[in-house]
């Protein structure tokens, strides 16, 4: 076995993957660590541990590293199947990009205004407040249909500090979105709209509020006030004068360049095609076994796997109590997106806005402002739960055909004007099984505090083990924590 260390330092170094019982030579006084999972969290923990002088091996099941960062390079627009947006307070991502010589550029993905198609009727965003289709009451009526869930969650969010969600003081918010809304006398019409893009029964309101709080932190950082939301879904991205970063940034050349550069920095210690099936800590070192029969030993192991798939790995001694519950019961939610070009501006024909939101099959079509370097608009069809799970039940070509015909049926002006390039549904990625963790009601109280406590020699990373961040930054936050825990023990 060749490791990065003995490649660099020559034969004097001890092979990291010493077999069971092999005598520990000089360099083995240092701990060696196996990181299971080559997504951002795993790669980052490995990088930090290598910085600290430890031998690290990363085992990744798929042939592709990066996990939920996935730039689809072969397709014309190079769509981002997974993460791409980097907020200006993503301290670790930003610093890592600068370390890896990756350039951050302002994102060009501004959403064009959004009409709605509800109960088989079209309504423009500027006519929604007074539309007979709008059966919400009082102030609720001003909320755009696509934003009802999100804005109500913000309204009822009591959290201030980024880690308040873990404070038992707020335990009472660990209830379903439905319960939160009913408790606050939200009208049935508003709850119904909120349920189009949110799992009313299956998501903890407190878990979503954690993300709201983090979003607010980003918006306010550096003493800049939150901008007015001037269109459904999102802000107009902008870069302030004198600021080095925009509100939202991308990595030049695609987000996958980041995990690729991390893996390159780690060299041979990253191995793909290595699906771990067992982590056995009953002996005096940890042994990690892969489905192909290969075995690795180490002083410490980091699981950087989503719990949706860690539950398929046998862990000895067995996990117990809240931690076992977390691994085996925490919820996951899907996201599915299709990508393409708009050949002609169909909205000029029918008078509705370019983007739309619907309670039907499609969920959302985002028409994007033209990029300076392109002569056509791009679009994305975006499904969150429960629409994502529905569309994911079809094979890809059927799902694409269904989208195209359904969009043409409800909005005939689009016929022949949308050119689909590709799509991706994260629940169908069998190595990940979802877009993100999603605490079910009661699960934060049941195990969110305990789920990250190291188990024997096993430490836990991954976006689901965040304490105060979100998105890619939470993956790095967790990788940093796990690396730090091990350095504290080694």
């Amino acid at each position: 076995m060749v490791t990065r260390r003995n490649l660099i330092k020559g034969a004097a170094a001890v092979p990291l993957l010493s077999t069971l019982g092999a005598p520990l030579l000089k360099a083995a006084e240092r701990s060696s660590v196996i990181v299971v999972g080559g997504g951002l969290s795993g790669l980052y923990s490995a990088l930090l541990l290598a910085d600290a002088g430890l031998d690290v091996t990363v085992l990744e099941a798929s042939q592709r590293i990066g996990g939920r960062v996935y730039t689809r390079d072969g397709v014309e627009t190079r769509p981002e199947f997974g993460a791409s947006q980097i907020g200006r307070t993503y301290a670790r991502v930003i610093n890592l990009c600068s370390r890896l010589d990756l350039k951050l550029i302002p994102e060009h993905r501004n959403l064009m205004p959004m009409s709605s198609y509800l109960e088989q009727n079209w309504v423009r965003s500027d006519q929604w407040a007074d539309s007979p289709l709008n059966r919400m009451v009082g102030d609720e009526r001003k909320m755009q249909p696509a934003l009802v869930g999100s804005q109500l969650l913000s309204k009822f969010n009591p959290l201030q500090n980024l880690d308040d969600w873990l404070n038992p003081k707020f335990a009472d918010y660990d209830v379903s979105i439905l319960e939160l809304m009913q408790r606050n006398n939200v009208s049935p019409a508003a709850i119904r709209l909120a349920g189009i893009g949110n799992d009313l029964y299956g998501s903890s309101a407190l878990g979503l509020m954690q993300e709201k709080t983090r979003g607010l932190f980003d918006a306010r950082f550096g003493n800049q006030e939150v901008e007015e939301i001037d269109r459904p879904y999102g802000f107009a991205n902008r870069k302030l004068e004198g600021e080095s970063l925009a509100r939202i940034n991308n990595i030049e050349g695609g987000c996958s360049r980041m995990p690729e550069a991390m893996a390159a920095a780690l060299g041979d210690s990253v191995q793909t095609g290595k699906m771990v099936r067992a982590i056995d800590m009953s002996g005096d070192r940890a042994e990690v076994r892969c489905v192909d029969g290969s075995r690795y030993t180490a002083d410490f192991v980091i699981s950087a796997l989503p719990f949706s798939v860690l539950r398929n790995v046998s862990i000895y001694p067995l996990l117990q109590g809240p931690q076992a519950d977390a691994v085996h019961k925490i919820g996951y939610a899907g996201t599915t997106r299709a990508f393409g070009f708009i050949e002609e501006p169909y909205w000029e024909q029918d008078g509705f806005e370019p983007s739309f939101f619907t309670d039907g099959t499609i969920h959302m079509l985002w028409a994007l402002e033209k990029r300076p370097d392109e002569d056509k608009h791009r679009f994305m069809v975006v499904f969150t739960e429960p629409a994502a799970s529905r569309i994911d039940q079809f094979p890809k070509d059927q799902a694409l055909a269904l989208m195209e015909s359904e969009i043409a049926r409800i909005r005939p002006s689009t016929k022949g004007k949308l050119r689909f390039l590709d799509m991706y549904g994260w629940s169908n990625n069998t190595f990940i099984r979802g877009c993100r963790h999603m605490f079910k009601p009661g699960q934060i109280n049941a195990f969110a505090r305990e789920m990250i406590v190291p188990h024997e020699r096993l430490h836990f990373a991954g976006e689901h083990t965040r304490r105060s961040d979100f998105g890619m930054e939470s993956a790095l936050e967790s990788g940093e924590r796990a690396a730090f825990e091990i350095i504290g023990r080694a």
Binding site: F221, G222, S244, E480, A483, G488
Partner: protein, 133 residues
């Protein structure tokens, strides 16, 4: 929250009392080079946000060169939160310890998004390292 109530007009007296209370243990801990070396390793937790020389680069926090003894929120070219700018003290062992334990408790409303270091020994090591910067 005794630190908060001592801020403001009472500041001078209160701070003196505070630093005397912790003086004995801090004086020993802070100048230990082995401890500082450990702290340098633990600085892994800070390096994404804080440079140790005076060029912050792409980092989102103020640089920490000479931070030990530096008045709070003192850098001209960093946009501190209003909450931190309102403070009136210099960073000593006691203050740093409280800050690193949980920044939100020392200065509610600060924009340092950092959960804190629970272990007192690790905080000691970190502070010993900060003192060398």
């Amino acid at each position: 929250m005794r630190i908060r109530t001592m801020r403001g007009k009472l500041g001078g007296v209160g701070l003196l009392a505070l630093s005397l209370a912790g003086a004995a243990s801090w004086a020993q801990a802070e100048d230990d080079p082995a401890l500082a070396a450990k702290g340098k390793q633990f600085f892994m937790l800070c390096q994404s946000c804080h440079a140790i020389d005076d060029s912050s680069g792409m980092r989102i926090g103020p640089h920490l060169k000479g931070v030990y003894g530096r008045p709070v929120a003192a850098l001209d070219d960093f946009s501190y939160s209003a909450a931190l700018r309102e403070q009136d003290f210099a960073w000593d062992g006691e203050k740093l310890d409280a800050w690193l334990k949980r920044p939100y408790d020392l200065v509610p409303g600060s924009s340092m998004s950092f959960a804190g270091v629970a272990s007192e020994d690790m905080r000691k090591a970190l502070i010993a390292y900060l003192k060398t910067l």
